[in-house]
């Protein structure tokens, strides 16, 4: 098996970074839409991360991480090339269904940009016309433009401040794509819940079937804890084994967002505890305490 060695690291911004981890078996097994669970160290938390890429020849999988809470900030600090993750298990979840769609929109917002890449590539390989819609806060935070460019027939970049591409949210990008193309078969949207909710509302009006990838709080990722239960239509599903992809027009995003907030106070406590410990160890490298953005 693998010892989860980190073979590449790239920093896209001061919060977003990429890790390429050696795991030949997983690289062979991974399919678009699947996720892994990572533990950075022995006393760490198990966190789910969507697989952003996999390379069967190199035997690696790629994760793109946003340092927002204790665990991810700690990973940002500790995960260097040549170091090892304590645990990495997957691929988990039902792979995305890459159907016979002729024309699709692949929407990625913020952290969701990376995990929508394997789906865009798979659609391209299946012969579909792929329109990529990627959203970032600003140009500085943008990454993988070229990588998407290589698998998309059209690429629409949206930034909140207009520093690159369209000024506005990814929903504006979807509307622009829909205005140009009346024959879009389906859409895939990955990102923070509020963004996926907006995308689903937009595509509902346009009558475009939309799949979203949910990343709720979970422990084992194998169907055992039930922490990741989500409301889809009138049913309760476990995102880890029944998903993570669901019909965006059926998902109850408000429920998802409320449930994502349930460990907020303890997450804050963990972060503060760790930052205090960091300061004590190394006053120079202290990580500034900052308001925590919502976990995507």
């Amino acid at each position: 098996m693998s010892d989860f060695e980190i073979v590449t690291r790239a920093d896209f911004s001061d919060v977003t970074f990429l890790l390429e981890v050696r795991h030949p078996l997983m690289a062979k097994a991974a399919k678009p839409g699947q996720f892994v669970i990572v533990m950075e160290h022995e006393a760490g938390e198990r966190i789910p991360l969507t697989i952003a890429d996999f390379d069967r020849d190199k035997g690696t999988i790629t994760l793109v991480i946003q340092a927002v809470g204790k665990t991810t900030k700690e990973m940002q600090q500790n995960c260097r090339v040549g170091t090892h993750l304590f645990a990495l298990v997957g691929p988990m979840g039902i792979p995305s269904h890459i159907g016979k769609a002729k024309k699709v929109i692949c929407v990625g917002g913020g952290l969701g940009v990376a995990p929508v890449y394997p789906q865009a590539r798979a659609y391209k390989e299946s012969g579909a016309y792929v329109i990529g819609v990627l959203g970032f806060r600003n140009k500085e935070l943008m990454f993988w433009k070229d990588k998407f460019g290589a698998v998309c027939d059209e690429l629409i970049i949206c930034t909140d401040d207009g520093s690159e591409g369209l000024k506005g949210l990814v929903t504006a990008g979807i509307e622009q794509a829909a205005a140009r193309h009346s024959d879009i078969d389906e859409a895939v949207a990955i990102g923070p819940p509020i963004m996926m909710k907006g995308c689903a509302e937009t595509t509902r009006k346009l009558g475009i079937k939309t799949m979203v990838s949910l990343n709720p709080v979970m422990v084992d990722g194998t169907g055992m804890c039930g922490g990741c239960r989500v409301k889809v239509g009138d049913r309760v599903k476990f995102a880890c084994v029944d998903g993570p992809d669901f019909d965006g027009h059926e998902v109850d995003f408000d429920d998802l967002m409320a449930r994502l907030a349930r460990y907020k106070p303890t997450e804050k406590e963990a972060l503060e505890h760790w930052q205090t410990a960091c300061r004590l160890r190394s006053p120079v490298n202290a990580v500034p305490a900052s308001a925590e953005p919502p976990k995507a």
Binding site: M1, F4, L25, M26, A29, Q34, M39, A43, G44, E45, R46, K70, T71, F86, A87, L88, V89, G90, P91, M92, G93, I94, V219, D220, G221, T222, G223, M224, C225, G226, G227, R229, K231, V236, F238, V241, D242, D255, A258, R259, A261, R262, Y263, P265, T266, E267, E269, A270, H273, W274
Partner: protein
Amino acid sequence: MAKKKTIRSIPQARTPMPEQAPEVRVKNFEEVACGYRMEDALVEAERCLDCADEPCVRGCPVGIDIPGFIKKITEKSFHGAYNVITDTNLLPSVCGRVCPQENQCEGVCTVGDTLEPVAIGRLERFIGDMAIDKGWANVPYIQRQPFKVGIVGSGPAGMACAADMAKAGCEVTVYEAFQEPGGVLKYGIPDFRLPNPVVDVEIDKLKKLGIRFECNTLVGRLFTLEQMLTEMGFHAVFVGTGAGYPSFMGIPGESLNGVLSANELLTRCNLMKARDFPNHDTPLQPGKRVTVIGAGNTAMDALRVSLRLGAEKVICVYRRSAKEAPARAEEIHHAQQEGVEFHWLTSPVELLGENNTVRAMRCEQMELGEPDASGRRRPVPVAGSAFEIETDMVVFAIGTNANPILGQTSGLKLDKRGYIATDESLATSIAGVYAGGDIVTGAATVIQAMGAGRRAARAMKAYLGLRDSDSIYAAEGAESAPRLFGIDRRERGHARVHLG
């Protein structure tokens, strides 16, 4: 020759086991029952009549030679007792603690017809713990066979099957999805009933048999069962993945924050050590007024864990009466001693929230009506009896459904409820693949899962053309055993290596 014991000549009272006082133990995660001291064990062992009938052996799912090991204790041959137990059960420290002996060996004990039955479980634990303490491990002489066996799941079923297949000479690999092996023994059963270090010692014994444990491996998704049999070269595979998928009731308010499954509560607390937050990163929002729905062993664990996490009030809600509660009597008794409040004949109908967080549970009073299909009297609501329980954490411990992963990823035939379909020998619909434990039967006990693991191992040995025996005998006509690192062949006539 000692005089034959009679029911009148043996110590009349069952020897009590020292326990932590309820008011002390409720503040720690140390074991509740401290275990027999040697003098306790020697007295209790005298209570076994060594009767000809041996109903206890038949009452044991793995068929431990119970009178045999107890006799060794009376002779103060503790290592001998350990050898007898480990002929059939590699995990005496685990089973001595968590088996429901009152329904098994002790439930049919001859002494129990007249007096309280012999405390078989406590004696088994005494021997198991002594073995850990002294570093005993029995590694039988293993005759290598050219077979690779894969085990999916490192819980009690997988461990038992792995041990038998390793003893039969197979090269055994156990796959586990979590970061450490042990399954429910690690994530589910809390340390005050079964300390995780005890499980680790037992797993180390399996490693001494040559068994390899591969953690962080989700079979079905990382590779399939079919791949194991083809590209990976396994000659036989055993699936013991456990039941896994927790049930909820489907009442309004279940997605409120503060509502979770017992599996989630226990996994966070036990395996992920949320009780040591923030030194361990996994959080657990502690409840002040915790309500647990259900009255099985898992519910008792959830209730007692909640007390230890600092809850002020811990309530058990069960729709039938105490008599129907599936938990072991001892567990309910312990929970009561520790201050758990039991609301029998009470069924939740709705969870009420505020700011997305649960604040109360609306319940109905029930009464027992006519017997249902299970033969138990069916609880029916009493009209106009609704009332509210104030609560900030609600834990569902009402059982589990079948985990879907292997069904999704292989050609395994499932039964109507989604569990793996097997025949009598525990063979599945795929040749060479066997299954046992909760993923076949639905939620049951640790020892039942171990029994299933061993039963499957027998069938797997037959499938591979291996001789089935509990221990490996030296080949006939072979040189006398002492060449093999001090094997003692006198004991029940089989070869055995003593380590430590």
